[in-house]
C-alpha cells in the first residue's frame, strides 16, 4: 500500500471478514482497504471466495462476521442508501430480458434515483456509443451475449457511481469493444472512481490493474502492484504468479492425462 493513500479516506474497508456456508469457511479473515482511483484486479481460483466477497459488499449475502465499511459507513447498519454510489456488473448477465433495452435501463436508473427522462437520454447516448442505437427499443431477449454485456455495462454506469464492481466485464465483447471498455476503466479511475475488477483472464488483469489482490482459499495470498508481485515471486507473468501462489504446478501432468484419455480407444 502506498504511503500517500493512508491520508485519504478509504472507499472500501474490510476487517476480518469471515463467511461460512454449511460448516465450510469460504472466507477466512479478509482485511482490505481500497482507495479512490484504484483499479483492483481481484483474482483467485474458482471457489476462492471472490464473488462471495463482492456479494457481501452489495448486501446480497448475509450471515458474515467481521466488518465491511463502504464510503466510511458500516453496511450492516440497515440503510441501503450506500448502493446509490455503486455500479455492479454480475458475472452472468441477469436482466429482465422481456423488457426492451430502454425500459430496462430507465427502470434501473430510476431505482438508483434518477428521473425517467434524464435517464432515457443518458442511456440512449451511451448505447449509441456502443453501436446499439438501433436495438434500443428492442427486447433484450433478442440480444446476443455481447449486446447484453454492453447493456449491463451501461446500466451499471447510468447513475455515475463512485465504486464499480465488475465481474468478467469483457466476456462476450468483440475486440474493439474490449478496447473501449479498458480505456473507459482507465479514464474513470483517473476521475477518482474506484474499480473492483474480477476476472480469470490474467493478461487483462495484469495490464489494467493498478493493484492486484489475489485470493486463495478464503484468504488474501498477495496484494500489490503487478511489479511488486513480480519482484516478490520472481515470475514473468501474472499467470505464472497466480499458478505459483495458488500452489498449482501440475497443469502439465493433468493436460497429459487429459490427452491420453481423449486418445484412448
Amino acid at each position: 500500500m502506498s504511503v500517500i493513500a493512508s491520508e485519504i479516506e478509504p472507499v472500501l474497508s474490510i476487517r476480518d471478514l469471515r463467511m461460512k456456508y454449511d460448516d465450510r469457511y469460504v472466507l477466512k479473515g479478509i482485511d482490505l482497504d481500497v482507495y479512490p482511483g484504484q483499479i483492483i484486479g481481484y483474482i483467485g481460483a474458482n471457489g476462492a471466495g471472490k464473488s462471495t466477497t463482492v456479494k457481501i459488499m452489495l448486501g446480497l449475502v448475509q450471515g458474515y462476521t467481521g466488518e465491511v465499511r463502504l464510503f466510511g459507513r458500516d453496511i450492516a447498519d440497515g440503510d441501503v442508501g450506500y448502493k446509490r454510489r455503486i455500479g455492479y456488473v454480475p458475472e452472468v448477465a441477469e436482466l429482465y430480458d422481456s423488457l426492451t433495452a430502454r425500459e430496462y435501463l430507465t427502470f434501473v436508473g430510476e431505482l438508483y434515483g434518477l428521473d425517467n427522462e434524464r435517464c432515457d437520454r443518458k442511456a440512449r447516448r451511451l448505447m449509441e456509443l456502443f453501436q446499439l442505437k438501433d436495438v434500443y427499443e428492442a427486447r433484450i431477449a433478442s440480444f446476443s451475449k455481447g449486446m447484453r454485456q454492453k447493456t449491463m455495462l451501461v446500466s451499471s454506469l447510468l447513475h455515475d457511481p463512485d465504486l464499480l464492481f465488475l465481474d468478467e466485464p469483457l466476456s462476450g465483447l468483440d475486440a474493439n469493444s474490449v478496447l473501449i471498455v479498458k480505456e473507459l476503466m482507465a479514464q474513470l479511475a483517473a476521475e477518482g472512481k474506484t474499480i473492483f475488477y474480477s476476472s480469470h483472464i490474467m493478461e487483462v488483469v495484469e495490464k489494467i490493474s493498478s493493484r492486484i489482490v489475489l485470493l486463495a482459499e478464503g484468504q488474501i495470498a498477495a496484494d500489490g502492484t503487478f511489479e511488486e508481485l513480480k519482484e516478490r515471486s520472481e515470475e514473468g507473468t501474472l499467470e505464472d504468479i497466480f499458478n505459483r501462489l495458488t500452489g498449482f504446478h501440475e497443469f502439465k501432468a493433468i493436460a497429459e492425462q487429459f490427452v491420453s484419455i481423449v486418445r484412448e480407444e
Binding site: L58, G59, L60, V61, Q62, V80, G81, Y82, K83, R84, I86, Y88, P90, E94, L95, Y96, D97, S98, L99, T100, R102, E103, F107, V108, E110, L111, Y112, G113, E137, A138, R139, A141, S142
Partner: protein
C-alpha cells in the same frame, strides 16, 4: 410505457405501505416493470423485433385466464341457486375457489414467488429488501384477486339474487381472506421445504404438485356431470371436530350463521368455525410478513447445486436398452429419451397427466358401467376392452415428444454425425413405450385381471400389440421433427386437430377387437395380424431419414 389501472388503485393505499416501512415509489416502479413483463410473458419467444411493433401483439394472456375462471364461476352458479342450506353451498363454493387459487398459484406464480433474478437485479440497487418482498407479495395478490374475482363474479350475483346483499358483502370479504390464506399457506410450505431440502428437490415437488393438480382437474371434470346428483342429497349439517381443520368449512360457516339455518345445538361450534374464517387469514398474514426476510434469504438455496443422486437404477436401464434396441444409435436415443422423460420438468408436467388419465379412464368407465350407465358390452363380460381407453395416453404424449423446454440443445443432432435419424425416432418411441406407457398399461391390466380373471390375458396381450402399432401411427404426423427439438407453446391447435382422427382410429382398433371376441380364435387371429403389422412397421417404418426442414 403505459400505466396500469391496478397501480392507480394501489396509490390509494400509499399511506398504509409507508406505515409498513415500504418505499412506495420504488415498489410502484418495480410493480410497473413486473406487470409490463407479465404481459409479454406468453409472447416473448417470437418477438425479436422492435418494441413498437410488439405493442399490438401484447395479447394479454391474463385476460384469457380470467375468462376461463369466469366461465368456471358460471358453471357453479346453479349450485348456489339450488334449495340447499347456505352453509353447505358456500363450503362447496369455497372449496372449489380455494382449490383453483392454489392451483393457479402453484402453476403460474411459483416462478414469481421463487424468482432469484430479482435478487441480483433489485437488491444490488438502493432498495430495501422489505420493499422488494412487498412488491412481490402485492404482485401476486393482484393476480390472485383478479382470478378469484373473475371466478366469483357469477356466484356473487347468484348470492345477491338468492340471499340478498348482506350475503354478497360477506362473500366478498371472505374472498379476500381466502386469497390471503392460500397465498401465505403456500409461501410457508415453500419456506419449510427450502429449509428442509435443497432447491432442486423443491422444484421437483412443485412439479409433482402441478402434475397432481392437472390430474385432479381432469378427473374432477369426469365426475362433474354427476355432481348434481350428489348435491341433491341435501346433507344435513352435523358438527364434527375434523371440520376445524378444513378451511372451506370456516368460510362456509358464517353463511350458516347469517341464515340462522343452524339450530342452537351446533351454534357455538359454528361460531368457532366462523371466527376462524376471519382470524386465521389475519394471523397467517402476520406470520408471513414476519418471515419475509427469512424467505428471501432462503431463496439463495435454489441456485445451489442439488445433492448428487445415487444411480441404482442405471443397471436395469442399461439392460433394458440393450434388450430392446438393435443399433448403437437407437440405443443412444433410447437412453437419452428415457432420461429426458424422467428429468424434463415441463415435459413431465405436460405428459404425466395424460398417462394418469390413461389409468383413470378405464377404471372410471368400469365404475360408471357398474351403475348400469353404459354399453351393453359390460354385461356380456367384455368390459375389459376398456383397456383401449388407456391408449388415449399415446397420441397426446407422442405428439409432445418433440417438445422440450431445453429445446435449444437440439443443435447437437446436427453437429454430431448421426447417420440415421429414423433410428433416433425408433429409440425414442421405444423409450416412451417402456418408460411411460408400460407402467400405465400394467396398472390397468392388473386391475382388469383382478376384475375379469385370467381369461382376459390373451386380450390384454392383443391390446398391447395394438398399442405398439398405434404408437408408430401416432408418430407419423410428426415424423419430420426430431424429438425434444421444439419449444412448448400454448394453444397448439394443430396438435388437437391431429389427435381427433387418431382417436377415431383407436375406436376402430377396439371395435375390431370387440367383433373378434364373437368368433372362436378371433382374438388370436387379430393378435397374429397385429403382431405381423408390428414387425413390419417397426422394421420398415423408420427408413433412413434426414432431418426435414419443415
Amino acid at each position: 410505457m403505459n400505466d396500469f389501472v391496478m397501480l392507480k388503485l394501489l396509490d390509494r393505499f400509499q399511506p398504509l405501505f409507508a406505515k409498513l416501512g415500504v418505499d412506495y415509489g420504488a415498489m410502484r416502479l418495480i410493480l410497473r416493470m413486473k406487470l409490463t413483463m407479465d404481459r409479454r410473458r406468453a409472447s416473448t419467444l417470437f418477438n425479436a423485433s422492435s418494441g413498437g411493433a410488439d405493442a399490438e401483439k401484447e395479447t394479454n394472456h391474463f385476460i384469457k385466464s380470467m375468462l376461463l375462471y369466469g366461465v368456471m364461476g358460471l358453471l357453479i352458479m346453479p349450485v348456489l341457486l339450488l334449495e340447499l342450506p347456505p352453509f353447505f353451498k358456500m363450503t362447496i363454493v369455497f372449496a372449489l375457489l380455494m382449490f383453483m387459487i392454489m392451483m393457479a398459484l402453484i402453476s403460474d406464480f411459483s416462478t414469481v414467488l421463487l424468482d432469484l433474478r430479482d435478487k441480483t437485479v433489485l437488491l444490488t440497487k438502493p432498495v430495501a429488501p422489505r420493499t422488494v418482498a412487498m412488491a412481490k407479495l402485492v404482485h401476486i395478490v393482484f393476480y390472485l384477486l383478479g382470478l378469484s374475482g373473475a371466478f366469483a363474479a357469477a356466484p356473487l350475483v347468484a348470492i345477491a339474487i338468492r340471499h340478498g346483499l348482506l350475503h354478497m358483502a360477506l362473500f366478498a370479504v371472505e374472498l379476500l381472506g381466502a386469497v390471503v390464506l392460500v397465498l401465505t399457506f403456500t409461501a410457508l410450505v415453500y419456506l419449510t421445504m427450502l429449509r428442509l431440502f435443497d432447491g432442486e428437490k423443491l422444484k421437483d415437488m412443485i412439479n409433482y404438485a402441478q402434475i397432481g393438480f392437472s390430474v385432479v382437474m381432469m378427473v374432477g371434470y369426469q365426475f362433474a356431470i354427476r355432481s348434481f346428483e350428489f348435491a341433491s342429497l341435501a346433507p344435513e349439517f352435523e358438527p364434527k371436530l375434523w371440520q376445524l381443520l378444513v378451511p372451506p368449512v370456516w368460510f362456509g360457516a358464517p353463511f350458516g350463521w347469517l341464515s340462522g339455518g343452524v339450530e342452537a345445538g351446533g351454534g357455538g361450534f359454528v361460531a368457532t368455525l366462523s371466527a376462524m374464517a376471519f382470524v386465521v387469514p389475519v394471523l397467517a398474514l402476520v406470520v408471513y410478513v414476519k418471515l419475509m426476510p427469512t424467505f428471501e434469504n432462503s431463496l439463495q438455496k435454489l441456485s445451489q447445486a442439488g445433492a448428487v443422486r445415487t444411480k441404482g437404477k442405471r443397471r436395469l436401464g442399461d439392460a433394458l436398452a440393450r434388450a430392446l434396441t438393435t443399433h448403437g444409435e437407437e440405443r443412444t436415443f433410447f437412453q437419452f429419451a428415457t432420461a429426458m422423460m424422467g428429468k424434463e420438468r415441463e415435459f413431465k408436467l405436460k405428459s404425466y397427466p395424460s398417462v394418469a388419465l390413461g389409468i383413470v379412464f378405464p377404471v372410471i368407465y368400469l365404475f360408471i358401467g357398474a351403475d348400469g350407465f353404459s354399453l351393453e358390452s359390460l354385461s356380456t363380460g367384455r368390459g375389459y376392452l376398456a383397456i383401449y381407453l388407456a391408449m388415449l395416453a399415446i397420441p397426446s404424449v407422442v405428439m409432445i415428444l418433440r417438445y422440450a423446454s431445453g429445446y435449444k440443445g437440439a443443435w447437437i443432432y446436427q453437429v454430431t454425425p448421426v447417420r440415421d435419424y429414423g433410428l433416433a425416432h425408433r429409440g425414442t418411441l421405444k423409450a416412451f413405450l417402456v418408460k411411460m406407457y408400460m407402467p400405465c398399461f400394467l396398472v390397468v391390466g392388473i386391475f382388469m385381471i383382478l376384475v375379469f380373471g385370467l381369461r382376459i390375458v390373451p386380450d390384454l396381450a392383443v391390446a398391447l400389440l395394438a398399442s405398439m402399432l398405434f404408437t408408430v401411427i401416432c408418430w407419423l404426423p410428426v415424423r419430420e421433427v426430431m424429438p425434444f427439438s421444439e419449444p412448448f407453446q400454448t394453444g397448439r391447435g394443430s396438435d388437437a386437430l391431429m389427435i381427433v382422427p387418431l382417436m377415431l382410429l383407436l375406436g376402430a382398433f377396439a371395435g375390431v377387437h370387440y367383433l373378434c371376441t364373437f368368433f372362436d380364435f378371433g382374438v388370436w387371429l387379430y393378435g397374429a395380424v397385429l403382431a405381423a403389422l408390428n414387425v413390419w412397421v417397426w422394421r420398415n417404418g423408420f427408413g433412413a431419414r434426414r432431418r426435414g426442414s419443415g
